[in-house]
Point group: D2
Chain length 250, copies 4
């Protein structure tokens, strides 16, 4: 029988908390502890579990890794954290999954350097469905470059800017940003659709987010795949494409 | 500059006629002639073109190939035809694209034998979009075997049986036939949808047929890809997967 | 048993011809003849039927009404025709259904004057589904003025301007024209969607055109309803709203 | 300026709590207090507000109405409650909105009797969008009884039975229950779709639930409309149809 992979989580905002919900319920993983920036805020344990939430004001990563060792670290906090845990992760060979989107070029360079000594995955969007959508759309784009492409994204009224995912789809497919349509209405969570218009048929690839816990499913998937890789620096795409490749070469 | 590929078409029912519409308007191809079973029926030329329509009662394939040679033969007729043109195709190295779905095992064996001497593609559904849908769904199924799968197909009221494409999707994904839902209403042409239900997100791959000419686009695509292959026996899937493989290995 | 309503059709373009397909197959109606502008063009009979196609160069409306009387006239030609048949229609009390969208104010004034003596329906879009969509959207807009409204229309790549139907929806709902999104791709026939975005739910009303014959179904519906009305000048909306009213007051 | 309507809420399960979220944030209403069955359970105040949560073990409705009077009572608890507050509501002329679906015939009889003395609305589904969907579908069914009807509902994997809303749609449209298709996959919240299939066009009316707070929006809507009614016993439908009627008769 497999031993559970012990995981530490950095960041306890809305996304981090949703990731904790998933990891604490997945039998493959053992979420050992959560770390957040500020000390004062409630709660001390992840609700419904005995998983402790520490503050960086009270405990350093070195102390945490010593007291309660983990096999993997998941980061949903902010760009600064990687400098705080980086050398510990490198030294101990801890697997790292980071979902930070605001890394500077320097930060990314540093993350890549960690990939020389351990397994590192960095991806701003760590949702399985969205990443599959992009990979599949890219394939169809190559197969049928003559098809018209439209990208439609629908989000709640308050979301101000064009969805980053939609922009990433446009870049990957090498279509003009004008092909993106952003609709904002009511409280819809998040809908992405790539339309391939052929003269006599239409293909649509769509993704609907239901709730933030989708990030957790993505992390669980990433941890499992990363566990099979050699040390190195990976994106979510890399893992997905490598699975696709394996499948297609069978 | 490329020379046009000269094409002969066997079969002039609704699908065959739609294929003639596409091939006669595609600059890569030169549709030289059409052959059909019965002599009596109108017209003598494909409407709006000077492309002649012959009857097998008046001309054999050997005569046709002699009088007006072609590089490729496209078959949208019935299972018997392949025995009439097979040896000529083999002898002359003519590329063959057959969309016949009712071949017996013997017929398929014979088609495979032709693949030893020339390039042969046999596929019961020769639509680009549907074949892509199946390939993409298969990949996602492998990546996320834990997702629930539902297959929904919607067709016009009169279509009696479950769509063959839906059944093929179910087989390919190895899901129970009970996961197929067939809706029949009004005059809708043809809609196929594969739903992947995740706990916190949903991915949908959908295909809408607009008109029969989609077969023509599929033939044009198949002819181009087949032209790049070595002699052999191929399915539409083979061509698609080989393109995907090439793309993923870049 | 009801006697069939005898119908004459003016206009034999793509829409007119599709309307002829429907009326000639509907047991409630007897399509007696079709009239078109130009004499030279084929055919002389509507394909698959014995319904004659006349040219205005050879026969006037007065002669036609005399030789082969009808109970209703359906106009899918151009704005000028109404001046040619108007007084005959008025004199003979022939029911008129006109689907001309390019009438001038003067033309409409004249059509309204015919409504004093007979039953006249003028509507630029004579599709049942679209007109229902607009009526239903208007009701929901009144019930929930606080919901966000988005109008999406999708048509084939070549359609240059924003769909007139989408503009009419925006006007009816009193939402800004900027709420209309027009997507153009491939060969999709025609898709209209009105989205009502609520904070915690979404309502979508959608209409898909499959083929032009939908105009015929609309005409058949309009003729039946108009037959129950007093003389007057009506729009398709009027008939629909009066049916809805009758239903709601039960 | 309008005075705020003071509201008391009975029931604090998942739905009741979501309704409290909405009513406490709607400027038209002042949620004064919440009542629930069991005393022991946390919390004492609705989170993020100072709205107290009482237990029926400690306070009777008579005491509550005396201490902190309200204009309206909203019931999301269980069938028994109406017997506890009924006579008080009658005596004080308090407006009642009940969303209980499991009332017996006796209970409904009693609720109707309350309608003689005050304004009472009873509806098992109090969502604005769903109720509009049903009303609109009913209208289209009357207008186009010849169209094929299909009802599709999609819910999360664990929902065992056919959705009650789908069954209510089928009854209202007088279509066979076999026209309902229930799909269960992943964690999708709730999707209802009524398809009207015409020979040459398709109309779809769809509703997507995003979260339970939709009940709160429905309650807020119901309270406002009920405030304009005479005393009596109403369903959500009644209010909606009366608005539609008013709109159509303008």
């Amino acid at each position: 029988m497999n031993k559970k992979i012990r995981v530490g989580l950095v960041g306890y905002g809305k996304a981090g908390s949703a990731v904790a919900n998933i990891l604490s319920g997945d039998p493959r993983y053992e979420l050992r502890w959560i770390v957040r920036r500020s000390a004062g805020s409630e709660p001390q344990f992840h609700p419904g579990t005995g998983i402790p939430i520490f503050s960086l004001e009270h405990k350093s990563f070195a102390e945490l890794f010593e007291l309660d060792p983990v096999d993997a670290l998941v980061d949903f906090s902010s760009p600064e954290s990687i400098r705080l845990y980086g050398e510990e992760v490198r030294k101990r060979g801890i697997m790292l999954v980071s979902a930070i989107s605001a890394y500077s070029e320097d930060d990314l360079e540093y993350a890549r350097s960690l990939g020389k000594d351990t397994r590192v995955l960095c991806s701003p969007n760590i949702t399985l469905g969205i990443n599959f959508l992009i990979a599949a759309a890219k394939l169809l784009r190559k197969i049928a470059p003559f098809a018209d492409v439209e990208i439609v994204e629908q989000h709640f009224r308050e979301k101000p800017e064009v969805s980053g995912t939609a922009r990433r789809i446009a870049e990957t497919l090498e279509v003009d940003g004008e092909r993106i349509t952003s609709l904002r209405f009511g409280g819809i969570v998040g809908h992405h659709e790539v339309i391939f218009g052929f003269p006599h048929q239409t293909v649509r690839l769509t993704h609907d987010s239901i709730r933030r816990e989708a990030f957790g499913t993505g992390v669980a998937f990433a941890l499992e795949q990363l566990g099979k890789c050699d040390r190195g620096f990976y994106s979510f795409d890399d893992l997905l494409l490598s699975m696709m490749r394996a499948e297609l070469l069978q």
